[in-house]
Symmetry: C2
Subunit: 200 residues, 2 copies
Amino acid sequence: MGVVSATARSDRYPKQDRSRATRQKLLEAAVACLAEHGWTGSTVTVVAERAGVSRGAAQHHFPTREDLFTAAVEYVAEQRSSALRELPAQDRRSVVAALVDLYTGPLFRAALHLWVAASHEEQLHARVTELEARVGRETHRIAVELLRADESVPGVRETVQGFLDMARGLGLANVLTDDRARRERVVEQWAGLLDGALGD
Amino acid sequence: MGVVSATARSDRYPKQDRSRATRQKLLEAAVACLAEHGWTGSTVTVVAERAGVSRGAAQHHFPTREDLFTAAVEYVAEQRSSALRELPAQDRRSVVAALVDLYTGPLFRAALHLWVAASHEEQLHARVTELEARVGRETHRIAVELLRADESVPGVRETVQGFLDMARGLGLANVLTDDRARRERVVEQWAGLLDGALGD
């Protein structure tokens, strides 16, 4: 490798790093903004300001509002998936609790706002539907693995799906009020029922 | 009873009927509007127009936007509750399907928009939280009754709550796409789990 290309690389890499850091700051600010202010209150300008990035730089990374917010929800969903996949092997009750936790933080809140806005905003509908299907499949795959569920057994697939629907419903119940106490009792009870339904 | 008061009554009753009919038209239009256009697109003016009522008459019945939309969601929720309470005795699988249906129509869609808007709109938050708690308690009561669930048995209360959370999650999954085929398989499987968990 010659001196010239080595120099070119050392120039290029920090720039890529800076660009990646800017992108990350924008994505994280976008999720926080969506979770706090909803779709109507979430614009590229508000997010750029929150991230400490110029509006021009924000638009360089994300040409439209839809680009920014769908990318943000996907980015954070991927981070959550990676964190789940790195969990050490655990008993089913802990896995159930960890999966339910996916639906009670700012990511769920942000995704919910995007989802609801997409139901009546044409520019969002196709993109969010596609994103949701992708994130949903990935979450299902992780849940099956962590719960050690054998989907070749009839009904097991639907048992896991219904559990993830329950987790989503618990997330919705937590949007307006802190529902933690009730949720813990429901999770405790259903973890037992699920454990029985999934077998060894 | 004298002639004068009898005349006064015959004058008054039709007027009350008309007023009640106007109120109902507004409430139904408000739910439809919220379900289709979301909170941002739902104003008293839009609803009055849809109901074929003057804006003044609408404001006479509902002084604020918040009054109109919270009353509308409550009105339709009460209608649904009454319809459920009048169902003939059925097996648990049919009851489970009927309860899940509560969360897949325009009422759930309207309530969802109101709920999500309330998470970041101060004027709505307290009212919707209170409304939601009231409707939630009533739905739970009806579910316990229709499912013939014995809440004196430890865990049964949480079993029913978790099932209603699942129904809510299924409703959310139906907002962007027609999720009926998947939902029917999940409901079939969970009706079995629930039946086993609730016993005779």
